[in-house]
Amino acid sequence: MSKINCQCGHENPFGTVLCERCGRPQTTEAKQSETVDMRYEGSARRSQTYKRSIIDRIWNFFSSVKIGISIIVAVLVTSAIGTLFPQKLYVPVSTDADIAAYYERLYGVFGTIYYKLGFYDMYNSWWFITLVGMLGTSIIIASVDRVFPLYKSLKKQRTKRHASFMKVQRIFGEGSSDDPDEALGKAEEKLKSLRYNVKTEEGALLAEKNRFSRWGPYINHAGLIIFLFGILLRGIPGFYVDETMWIREGETRSIPGAPGYFLESKGFILENYTKDEAKEIYGEALDRVGSIAKNYQTDVALYKNKEGGLPGQSEHRKLEKEYSIIVNKPLTFDGYSIFQMDFRLDELKAMTFQLTQKETGKSLGEFTVDLVDPEDTYELAEGTKVKLLDYYPDYDGVENGEPVSKSPIPNNPAFIFEMVTPEKPDGERSFVAIRQTLETEENAYKVNFIKADTRDISGLTIRKDRTLYILLFGGIIFMIGVAMGSYWNHRRIWIQKGKDNTLLIAAHTNKNWFSLKKELNQVQDIAHLPAYEDRLDKESTSENLEGDQQ
């Protein structure tokens, strides 16, 4: 790797476009072109320096902005494909076979292909994660390779540049001046009032402002890296909890993912907007769509096991707090948050029956069976009682001569009652299910269904995410960086004396040339500097002569 020796005697690293010291163009391309590309100040990117080992090659691959952009586009395209059909997460079935069937049923051949290619779980696929990882790698390497050379060259930039440097700037002017020294002095004064930092050196002047904006891109990239790092940490056990629980009204349950904590549901509330409400303004909308939900709420009590309490013990619980979990207002404790996410209404809770004499239809009394925790005997009167021999919450027919319940949830309760009456003190047996009563032999009494009580179930999500603050921090850093880079621009103006009372002016900004020119015009007016041209604006230089607008 040869060094590049500039005419001024400075030794520049390989890949340098503009001499680090005097600014003379070094490459033939830069020498021949009318304007020069000023990004990274024409300094050599680190990766350009050597091309040797495989490591260096990989490094150079990720250092390229072209590759970076390609990765961005790849992430963009794969993300878009992922929205073509709903992702696995939003599909109402859970087993693999069901998911495959779901895509096939709804989207036909395309659905099957989508499923087979793994697009149904796009954002969890190894190759999507790899792409994001490559993006992160590219951000890190490309930034590191550029920020140091840029910092160095901005730090050691000279006030006096070689005329050839001035001539290849996009904004350049050259002309004679009556009194170059006076012009320089006035320009310096005006530039200072425009908040430029002005440096002078042997008849040359460099005015510079907002150099810090050049660090914006690197700061925002650092923010992105912090963000990605935060996401990486979620893989560590204990950093991230994501569980769901269904809790019935009146139930107390251990909170999944939060050992030692218990939640009691005191009630679920669903409210809809009504027309009588103060906001009669909603009437029209309610007429059109029917009902609109107003509130989903679960009133809960949070308990914690006392110090040294064990799972399974109930006597060591102590009330931590009572809270109403509503959408947008999660319950938070000890780094956990519990969210109101879903609900199911009207699960059977209790059933009330009446014991009647078949012949006369006379009632011997009513009793209520709690379907969650039924009792075994219901006393109705002296000598009259109903015994609950067995209970099948989710009755699903008879198997091997035995009634079967397919789940513990009272979806379809069935009971075996023994009715003890003064008339039949030995008891009569009866199997009672919804819309069905079976008797081994003809009974004198029967149990009639009267009414059912229901309760609601709240679907809650339990989250703990210790990485959130890291992510937020990354976001803030990103915003600071991106604002620095976008809302401020690094502007530089060079003015220097040439031969025979001439003045050379050149200016550069990384963005927003319009404002730079406005400032330059002000300086020009006061200091009577020679006219300049914007080499990239072919139109105004030709049309400008037609004169100003009215």
Binding site: D37, R39, V65, I69, I72, V73, V75, L76, S79, A80, G82, T83, Q87, L89, Y90, L106, G108, M122, Y123, D242, I281, Y282, E284, A285, R288, V289, I292, A293, K294, I326, N328, P330, S337, F339, M341, T461, R463, L468, L471, L472, G475, F478, M479, V482, A483, S486, Y487, K511, N512, W513, F514, D537, K538, E539, S540, E543, E546, G547, Q549, Q550
Partner: protein, 394 residues
Amino acid sequence: MALASISSNLLFVSFIAYLIATLFFGGAIKGGKAETTDKNNKWGKVAITITIIGFLCHIGYFITRWIASGHAPVSNMFEFTTAFGMMLVGSFILLFFLYRTPSLGLFALPIAIIIIGYASMFPKEITPLIPALKSYWLTVHVITAALGESILAISAVAGLIYLLKNVDLTKKSKQRFWLEAVMFTLVLVIGFVVSSTAFSIAGYEAKFTYIDKNEAPAKIEYNYPPLFGMHEYKALTEGAMEPIAEMPPIVNAKTLTTFVWSIGTGIVLYVLLRLIFRRPLAMVLQPFAKKANSQLMDEIGYRSVLIGFPVFTLGALIFAMIWAHEAWSRFWGWDPKEVWALITWLFYAAFLHLRLSRGWEGEKSAWLAVIGFIIIMFNLIAVNLIIAGLHSYA
């Protein structure tokens, strides 16, 4: 109720004001010379004044509706799109005062007008907030995101002007084809507005029952003569048109019907315009872009991306994540709307990198700005109406 009607009147006034301002901007360009300086002629001054009046009325609409409904009016398609149109005008005013270019107004205002027209095709009544939207983050997130998008949209306007001025329309080329395609798309949106207005004035409606994709029975009401029927549809309205074809359950035949009617109307409209002008629409508009300065338009396009990108990031990603964490328990869930916000963000990130490092300025940059606007519109329209997700409120 009074406040609500004041609100809609103000919106109407602003709509008219934008129309008039557009004409004045046209006059400013006709009378003016090439745009290089920061001075405007009389027409230009009148035009921007009318625009500002219209904008103030628009803000008036926004505030009165906010007071009337008790929440920021950004909670459904009509409200959001109207607010987006408002911010588009606001962003234009901001950039106008930075660069004083009337041609930007001549192209930005009609786009705002089309957007407001599009918005008013959706149900306009004030709706109460569903539980998920009841949060101050609704105000913060939606307004910031819309503001960011609207500033980004200005870059597409500047890009369009750049392209109209610089693409050679006399010779057959890819550029000419795609520029005309952009014009055609704008006509299609007008086609939607025209057809939708026509049928709603005629009071057309047809009700059907059908079986939805989860195999549950459902009802639907068409406002267009039903070209396509929902899965296993049955007509409830007597004398309604019999749909030509029945669709499988995943296709929303109502949306498809609206879409086909709009495209049909759009095509008719486009053909009519072509017959009237006897040349491509891009060519018709080209003279209006002639006065613009290419370098300046390129810079306006770039500058508006620079201004809009951080605002968009803040509103559509950061605030969105914070709210999503509070409302849905996760800050990111790969919901289609979220993904498309990310896609928009990645796209503009690519735009900036291409410009900074690969020297994509001028025409390439202008094309990218137009594509960016298409992505934003896709997220606003298609993702809400076609790809169902958590964000589909309309």
